[in-house]
Amino acid sequence: MGETTTQSSPIGARVPMVDAVDKVTGAGKYADDLTLPGMLVGKILHSPHAHARIRSMDTSAAERLPGVRAVVTGAETPVKYGILPVGHDETIFCVDKVRYIGDNVAAVAAESEAIAEHALRLIRVDYEVLPAYFDPEQSMQAETNLIHDDRPHNIEREYHHHFGNVEEGFAQADYIRQDRFDCPEVTHAALEPHSTLARYDAEDGTLTVWSSTQVPYYLKKTLAATLQMPEEKVRVIKPLVGGGFGGKSEVIPLELAAAVLARKAGAPVKITYTREEVFLANRGRPRQIVELKTGVTRQGKLTAVEARIIQDGGAYCGYGVVTILYSGQLLNAMYDIPNVKFDGYRVLTNKPACGAMRGHGTVNTRFAFEQQLNRIASVLGLDPVEIRRRNLLHPPCVTLNNLRVLSYGYPECIDRVVERSGWKEKYGKLPYGKGIGFAGSHYVSGAANPIIRSAMPQSTVNLSVDRQGGVTIFTGASEIGQGSDTVQVQVVAAELGLPLEQVRIVAADTARTPVDLGSYSSRVTFMAGNAAIAAARDAKRRMLQAVARAYGVAEEDLLMEGGRVLGRNGCPLSLTLAEAARLAAGPAGVLTARGSYNTPEESRGGTFKGAGVGPSPAYSYSAQAVEVTVDPETGRVTVDRIVVAHDCGKAINPMNVEGQVIGSVWMGLGQALQEVVDYENGRIKNAGLLEYRTASTLESPPVETILVESNDPEGPFGAKEAGEGSLAATIPALTHAIYDAVGVWIDTLPVTPERILRALQEKQQAEWKSPGTGARM
């Protein structure tokens, strides 16, 4: 960290993450690294059927097996839960029915993994197999054998939004285009499998859970509810987390199973999922079918957009209601669209539940929209960049659906990418087989409304300044590898004028740190960052007040700089931070300060049904150009280069922001080219990282990152979202590049070589039948 000490402010400094060394040396501990004396191994019995009634269950043979210390079933754990208050449809173990292959039927705690596995095989379950639903469009027609009795037609939730008047909008259009896009399910594939260690203390009735979670606060609440314990008796600690991407952003069955087993066995229990179980726990991005209709004038001005979206949510709600809303609500806040209609259906099927995944709800809609916009541009003979410029927002503004946009770096993102990529020299001008494509995307900087509505601030930070001037941050925010801890250390150090080394952080332990809602919806830098700034300012104010009082000077004549309290306006005072802290500590002995953040009322959206999802205090923007080579003989795509510009408001740590943006692009590449959770009658055929492979460094093209700083008026030092918003644009930019290379549009993901080849053959046949029609339609 040599460069940090010479830098005047740590804001904008390329500093390594504060937990990097421990991670690299192995000193840092992840959940599965933890052990306790007398710890048992927990294993979960999963359903072999996609949909079946449990007639009876016999666990006696498993209980008699030597080395087995506890067996639990659904009968003992009937309390329903779910991440959303409107979606409490899960129980820790199935009570009456199993709803997907992999559903949780029972669990065992034993003295070894081998014994636990053996015990699972001794559990006898008598199933009555029921008809199952695997395709969302068929599932929506269901009349009988419903997946949940209180969800007619297996529809979890539907929304019908209409802003402006699309009929009028389409009447004004010179060209209307309709397309159907099909994006299959993809999953997070975080390298760290989920792992939970639970300890129950029978003496005082307390439960301590160490878990690989993005949401310690919600986990604590759900543990208390499902185990029917007082919330104050539950403590959740988040160790290092090896990637989440949304897959750990709701309560995962093993977390509850480990706790129930620990309580019953009277000994600590650890469960770590196998990779196959990670796939079964899922919560990935649902398959989404988008029927999109867009009208434009001859000049390319958007007049109306209408989307009918179906999401295949799997067997439980999870975040589903939020996912379907994001898919419609965030059609807005990117371009100026005068009329928007959205019909969204979140459908249940007998497959593992989907949930939040990086770019939550927005990615597949954005793919559809940007692809259609590029198709429209090509039909109208407009430059794809120009059509975007003609439809920009003019912030500050509020969209039709009540999304408030203040900072808007999208125009600059477009300009910078056009310039760096050589767009004008390349688009439509590269030799056959080579192409360049363009697209944009955006994302929220945290959901303006909490999952459980309350007046509680979204994030609170406590700060203590010890008598030697050392600062400790106590924060509930969850570091999951994205830089949560580092960002908070940087902003506090910047506020107090201290070197980073003088600031420690204690995070994500519900017994020691105040509440932060968690690492989801890209909220941490914005919300915990603002709370940390508020706490630092509170500490500063207390120190300046104490010094002013002690020396009889005016507070305005003091300032804090370079780790000292200095006088100004002729006041000659100069104190160290330690001296100021001791004065401020006074008789209490220690200086404590606190700060919190809640979203401004004006950022929380409208009042219509579903208005709560989509609003954010700020939106990030991204533009991308992707260059590819397509082998027209095989359909094989090689991605040669990606130029991405991301408006992150202000890069508090540019190195970290670049890492997040590149990571997003890679994830988009994987979804575009090769990722799909492949089902056959509800069974995952590729539940392993050998068969389901994300893009890796091996196939990564050079990714050139441009950071655009629009300085959001409400962001901490102007900062906003950085970790998700660039994912969505990669996919339509890549498919656009394929079109530029060989002249075919692919509307179904992933864009496999076979799909490209088939499209090329169809195109060839069509041209052979009707010679003279343009290739660029």
Partner: protein, 293 residues
């Protein structure tokens, strides 16, 4: 995930290895690098009761020239073949193929013998040894014998090796004057195995006609195979583009073609034809260069 428990044996001699294999029969399995077998064991697709680790038999890791042949010990790693100066000069098809296998870690641990004996339908080496018309030599308590590559691959993950036979050597004839070889592969995007891998060896007469063609194809059917129909179509014909195209059209003839998430049988057959043509083109080009060298 942990594999089923098993007994682990480390024989010090080839005789001991063979004796252990005879003793355990179908319950035993040789380990010769472990980059195919161990993943299968973790997934419970294989559950041998006895693992006989051959990696201590260091005598079986060698590359040497002997007369008209190059001999390669079965425990030679992919990386050693990839980086062998001798092979780059005498049999460049082998380093060219090695380069396409897995990733650096796999190439550093995996061995040619282990790979061939495992006989994965999408492994790379089978295509190369088929096209090179190599001899695969094995030892058992009954003595040593050699098998032609074309007789070695029997079916999906099944070879002509008896359960107590240890594959010890791959004996490769050196290519003659006017001969060229090439390997063309399309990697499976997830596993890196061959969606299709085609090794071609072409010998040209002075008049430019094809004297001999040998084509080995992997990744397409249940086992790697010699594409005899392609070879026959080329024999005696001038190596023109039209003839190469026509010959390559036979690449998947009579084969029960694999289908998976990434390629239907129809698309894979198409790929087999395209990559066969590409391998033939490259081999012909090299044969011409060799003839004029």
């Amino acid at each position: 995930m942990i594999p089923q428990s098993f007994e682990y044996h480390v024989p010090r001699t080839l005789e001991e290895a063979s004796r252990l294999a005879a003793q355990f029969g179908a319950d035993g399995k040789f380990l010769a690098g472990g980059h195919s077998l161990i993943p299968m064991m973790k997934l419970r697709l294989a559950a041998p009761k006895h693992l006989i680790d051959l990696t201590c038999l260091r005598d079986l890791a060698y590359i040497r020239e002997e007369g008209e042949h190059v001999r390669i010990g079965a425990l030679t790693t992919h990386f050693r073949i990839e980086s062998s100066a001798l092979l780059k000069e005498k049999c460049p098809l082998l380093p060219e193929t090695a380069r396409e296998i897995g990733d650096v870690q796999v190439r550093n641990r995996g061995t040619i013998g282990g790979n061939l004996a495992h006989s994965d339908p999408a492994a790379d080496w089978p295509a190369a040894v088929l096209a090179l018309e190599a001899e695969l030599r094995a030892v058992s308590p009954r003595g040593e014998r050699g098998m032609a590559a074309k007789d070695f691959f029997v079916d999906l993950m099944t070879t002509a090796l008896a359960s107590d036979e240890v594959l010890v050597e791959i004996k490769v004839p050196q290519l003659g004057h006017g001969t060229g070889a090439a390997y063309a592969k399309l990697h499976h995007p997830a596993s890196g195995y061959a969606m299709v891998g085609v090794a071609a060896v072409i010998a040209l007469r002075d008049n430019g006609a094809v004297e001999r063609a040998a084509v080995g194809i992997t990744g397409v059917g249940p086992k790697a195979y010699r594409a005899f129909a392609v070879e026959t179509a080329l024999h005696g014909k001038p190596a023109t583009q039209a003839h190469l195209n026509a010959a390559a059209a036979h690449a998947a003839e009579g084969v029960d073609v694999n289908a998976d998430l990434y390629a239907s049988a129809e698309y894979r057959s198409h790929l087999a034809r395209v990559y066969t043509r590409r391998a033939l083109e490259a081999a012909v080009k090299r044969a011409r260069a060799a003839a004029t060298a």
